[in-house]
Symmetry: C2
Subunit: 360 residues, 2 copies
DNA sequence: TATTAGCACTCAATAATCATGAGTGCTAAT
DNA sequence: ATTAGCACTCATGATTATTGAGTGCTAATA
């Protein structure tokens, strides 16, 4: 008898994980409902009230048996004996995967004008993160494109001091990079103007990365350069050599501080770590650039010792077909995925569209 | 009999504030020691242990009498009857004023190289706030100079699209302002180069404020302008018309979250308000620009409903003799003023020195 | 007259006890 | 396979005592 079997296992295997098997339809529905309920209330889900609240035509006892099975398969856990059940990371994962399977990523009503009003790129980054945090009520994050892979459109040199030149590079997306370069020779404003035209001519259309890696070599090899042009190249080479790294924007930390469970010891520490050391989130987001669509990292799936009990819903965004950066929403494991997932998905697509349009 | 007098007042006047009078030396010393002790421990200071710890040659009873007097004069208060005393805002104020009187603002050992390594202005702002927060263990804040009052050194126009021009203004302090301006006429790169020279010639040496308020008028009145120059002026006028506001940098909020008393209800709210709405701190700091030296705002002295139980130690900084911005340390009222005050003072002077040097 | 010892009183904080109720697992009946 | 029933667990919250550091006031003292 399976009740017997269950009983015996209940005694001997209680803490042993059960080999994975496919959940039947009822189990699946119940697991998802439990996770849903827990996300809603934050309280361990117990058999009696749960059966009642969701009008399952099941007795609490049966529910207990099912919950017991789900626990043995590591989808659920009990904070302490004789308390209700709480989802494990694996439980959340199951829930989220079902969500992603079923979700119809249809249009959402986010005003695209938020984006279109902004002109300067870093303002866009700011307003996107702010929008993400406000509409999700968690923290919004955005990883800017690696400037390395943005394409230069225009280069301009300006004299600052007799021995200092400012190089301004404007990219297709409208990013403005400025670099001061010290020079030893005196040059006139008119000469600089010439250099600018020369540099723009040679470097326009290439990415910073290409410029750094190949262009200078090629130019120096292929052509007989006048000493003037040589100097122009020197300046540019110094300017572009400095590594430019992508930046991370985070907004809405205060939302997280308003969530009671985030202010508890370990999670508060995760949070403080993240405020203090933005690179943590940056590294995490960087792993998401290459993957398509919405990606969700739950609890320990975020492989960073300093972050526990948190989740990240992320999406890359593209310029044309090339993924260049990522956005996301960061919050507690018990997050309203149902709301956040489509938000991140939609925003990612909107940002892609906008940047693609801008860089034409 | 004064004991009698005290007694009677103790009954009838207990909660009535006593008119101000000058504290005698012993009272003064004791008050300061109480505040000091409270800053140290965070626990209400009681007569017995206090007398013992600080080896006063006084009995606890006498100490109680003195504390009673100090309470009547509103320097101290009791969280509840029969608990030790806690400083009021006025008590902190007294303590801090004594500190300021006695403090010898001698050299501190902060590595000035922190500043000198940075070239770009906003990097400096970031590193100053970071430094303030790290060395104080509270939150560091910095209000940038009002760009309005920075002096333009150079103007450069760059063609972006056929109908869009980028104006770059470089200020004496090395700040780089960029503005996109839409134009209806077609111009060549060479013409823009001409305009740039013209604009630099006319506007160099004036502050943004002056440029906005007077220069354009004057130029248009005094000279017969070619239509070209007219266009150049139009572009500049549009670019400069956009109000540029000073920015606020805040760093080290996480330090505040590590202080238990800051995480309690009302103060946590002050904190959240400040994270959410940076303008609050900005407005507060703005009131400090004009005042010289270190200013301290304690508790309710910060006249903002959304901030309670906090203090700000601030100092303005100058370019030459003109105060242009402010820095500060923000933390709980129970702050280690003795450490923070000289830090802010020194940093203010260092920033002044640096900016003054940069703008020469 | 200023200080202090002594006393009665207050009150926050802690620990100890108890009741409650929502939960469990297991057995046996359906 | 499901469920009713039962004994058991345990977090939570209320209640009560205990303790200890504090107070204010009186009366004695230097």
């Amino acid at each position: 008898m399976s009740a017997n079997k269950r009983m015996r296992k209940g005694i001997t295997l209680k803490n042993e994980m059960q080999p994975d098997r496919k959940l039947d339809e009822r189990e699946s529905a119940i697991l998802n409902a439990i996770v849903y309920e827990y996300i809603l209330t934050g309280k361990p889900v117990g058999s009696r009230s749960f059966v009642h609240k969701y009008s399952f035509s099941l007795s609490p006892a049966t529910m207990r048996n099912i919950m017991f099975d789900l626990e043995r398969m590591n989808f659920l856990m009990q904070p302490h004996t004789s308390s209700g059940r709480v989802p494990t990371d694996k439980g959340y994962r199951y829930y989220v995967d079902s969500l992603l399977d079923n979700y119809n990523f249809h249009e959402m009503v986010i005003d695209e004008k938020i984006f279109q009003r902004e002109v300067q790129l870093d303002k866009i980054f700011e307003s996107v993160t702010k929008m993400l945090s406000i509409t999700s009520n968690y923290a919004g994050v955005m990883l800017s494109p690696r400037p390395d892979f943005t394409v230069v459109k225009l280069i301009e040199l300006i004299q600052l001091e007799s021995s200092e030149v400012l190089l301004i590079a404007i990219t297709r997306t409208g990013m403005i990079l400025t670099r001061k370069v010290a020079i030893s020779v005196r040059v006139t404003q008119d000469e600089l103007f010439e250099y600018s035209k020369f540099l723009t001519g040679e470097l326009c259309g290439y990415s910073l990365h290409d410029i750094k890696e190949r262009i200078f070599e090629n130019l120096r090899l292929d052509k007989l350069l006048s000493s003037n042009r040589e100097l122009a190249l020197d300046i540019a080479q110094i300017a572009f050599n400095e590594t430019t790294d992508s930046t991370i924007n985070i907004d809405g930390i205060e939302n997280l501080l308003r969530i009671p469970e985030m202010v508890e010891e370990k999670r508060l520490n995760s949070l403080l770590n993240i405020i203090e050391e933005k690179n943590i989130l940056k590294n995490i987001l960087e792993t998401q650039i290459e993957s398509d669509g919405v990606k969700i990292m739950i609890g320990e799936e975020i492989e960073n010792d300093r972050v526990t009990g948190c989740s990240l819903v992320a999406s890359s965004y593209k310029i044309g077909n090339k993924p260049v950066g990522a956005i996301g929403v960061f919050g507690p494991t018990r997050m309203d995925y149902e709301k956040v997932v489509p938000l991140v998905d939609y925003t990612g697509k909107a940002v892609s569209g906008l940047l693609t349009k801008m860089s034409k």
